[in-house]
């Protein structure tokens, strides 16, 4: 199938997904379950990654700008900027594409090959809406929280590494993370996160929903979900950066 056909079918699936749910209470219950599965259960990996990335950013910045002309608070400043602008929203979303995206594609794909989606359609249930909409809503609501936690922990990791290795003092680091702070950068990051959450869930759900064959194809869909989500996130990241920051 050509890329144009895929894009057309993707938007058609999106239209079905976003059409009115038949039982709002049931959808909401499913959304809460998905918030736990896709959001809360991703906290561990997000936390771990954030602390270590922040630590690495701090150490690298300080070793690279080892010059008497540059004030030491720049280390904290750089850690904050790279965390908020790029690392937390983009890298964490790429990681979530790997974790959550493959999970979504595998779950929906195996429902497809085991005729469970046909069973929903036969009953007259809007299968796309029932399966996909709760995942979209859950991710769009949860990922901004994950990313905010990531921002906090990344900066915390930076401080820990900076002070722990003695390359920077707590005062200089704090001064750095407060220096020339523009709250819009956080909003910018959260806008990106929401867009990426939408991309991860819909692209992965698309891969799962149109799986045909058997378990082997479910595996293929799951891999594709991650690869395509990543590619689309990178393109969207470029577009949003140009749109929002210039």
């Amino acid at each position: 199938m050509s890329i144009i056909l895929h894009i057309g079918r993707y938007f058609m699936l999106l239209r079905d997904t976003l059409s009115r749910p038949e039982r709002v209470s049931l959808y909401w219950k499913r959304t809460v379950e998905e918030m736990d599965l896709l959001g809360v259960k991703s906290l561990g990996i997000v936390a771990l990654l954030s602390v270590f990335m922040g630590a690495v950013i701090t150490i690298q910045t300080s070793t690279n700008i080892d010059s008497a002309w540059i004030p030491s608070y720049v280390v904290g400043f750089t850690t904050r900027q790279s965390t908020i602008l790029e690392f937390s929203p983009t890298i964490i979303s790429l990681i979530l594409a790997g974790k959550v995206g493959s999970n979504i594609a595998a779950e929906i794909g195996s429902m497809r090959v085991k005729e469970q989606i046909d069973a929903l359609d036969i009953m007259g249930v809007n299968s796309a809406g029932y399966l996909i909409l709760p995942k979209i809503v859950a991710s769009v609501l949860m990922n901004p929280f994950l990313v905010m936690i990531s921002m906090f922990l990344s900066i915390f990791g930076g401080w820990l590494a900076g002070v722990g290795t003695g390359i920077i003092s707590t005062e200089a680091f704090i001064e750095g993370i407060q220096y020339d702070f523009d709250p819009f950068t956080v909003i910018y990051a959260l806008i990106k996160t929401v867009v990426f959450a939408f991309i991860i869930t819909t692209v992965s759900a698309y891969q799962g929903y149109y799986t045909s064959g058997g378990t082997r194809e479910v595996g293929i869909s799951s891999t594709r979900a991650v690869v395509y989500s990543d590619v689309v996130i990178l393109i969207a990241n470029y577009a949003l950066t140009q749109l929002l920051l210039i």
Binding site: M111, K114, Q116, D118, M123, G124
Partner: protein, 254 residues
């Protein structure tokens, strides 16, 4: 009653069904038989609207299904119960939740009423005290029975069963076949059973159509089946050793 008129279906360039005409009667176990890959499941999925045929019509009580407004189509769908080849129970739901699912989605019942209705259906298929189990914890035969319970939860007028006894041992197959026959008579449903199992054909088939290479090759009743001189049908019927024995005995006895 369901009528299929001049139905053709292809996927891309592959012609799967060509000009199928058939009538499926109410209160009877209508059967679609044929070799695997002949297009039986695709035909059933065209009839219930999971596939859209390129040509032809499907009439439910005289009303053309594929020409209906979305609203009416949904109405018909809620009158259809379907048992899938692999049962298609929802993995993430318990037995009770599976059977209650269509009720939750489409009925205005209170939770306790839904539970009662689900228990009636489960009892009808002889699944007792298994409410909290998940599909993966059930045997194939039990999964099929829960699938039937879910299919009859909404009191369907039309019951579709795709290979209800594939993957089951002969004894369990008979139980399932009889259950389908009883339910059909009890609720006067228009039942369509897809099968390639000669046992169930001989056991419960009333109005039979034989699909070969996507065409309707033969139709008739169970008695005519064994005496047909249709070559492909005979090959299909007497493919199994048991049926060959039956044939020998028939010839011996004249």
């Amino acid at each position: 009653m369901i009528e299929v008129q001049g139905l053709s279906k292809r996927f891309g360039t592959v012609q799967v069904l060509t000009d199928i005409n058939a009538v499926f009667a109410k209160g009877q176990v209508n059967q679609i038989i044929g070799k695997s890959g002949s297009g039986k499941s695709v035909l059933a999925k065209c009839i219930v609207g999971l596939h859209k045929p390129e040509e032809g019509k499907v009439l439910y009580e005289g009303r053309s299904f594929h020409d209906m407004e979305a609203e009416d189509m949904r109405g018909i769908r809620q009158e259809i119960g379907m048992l899938f080849q692999g049962s298609a129970l929802f993995d993430s739901m318990s037995v009770l939740e599976n059977v209650m699912f269509p009720l939750k989605m489409f009925s205005a019942m209170a939770r306790s009423e839904m539970e009662d209705r689900a228990h009636v259906c489960l009892k009808r298929v002889n699944i007792l005290d298994k409410d909290a189990l998940y599909p993966a914890e059930l045997s194939g035969g039990m999964q099929k029975r829960v699938g039937i319970a879910r299919a009859i939860a909404m009191n369907p007028k039309y019951l579709f069963c795709d290979e209800p006894n594939s993957g089951l041992d002969p004894q369990t197959s008979i139980v399932i076949d009889e259950l389908i026959k009883e339910l059909t008579e009890e609720f006067n449903t228009t039942t369509i059973v897809i099968t390639h199992d000669m046992n169930s054909v001989m056991e419960t088939g009333e109005n039979i159509i034989f699909i070969h290479k996507g065409r309707m090759w033969w139709k008739g009743g169970r008695e005519e089946l064994l005496h047909s001189d249709n070559k492909e049908l005979n090959e299909f019927i007497f493919a199994s050793a048991l049926m060959r024995q039956v044939k020998k005995a028939m010839i011996k006895n004249g």
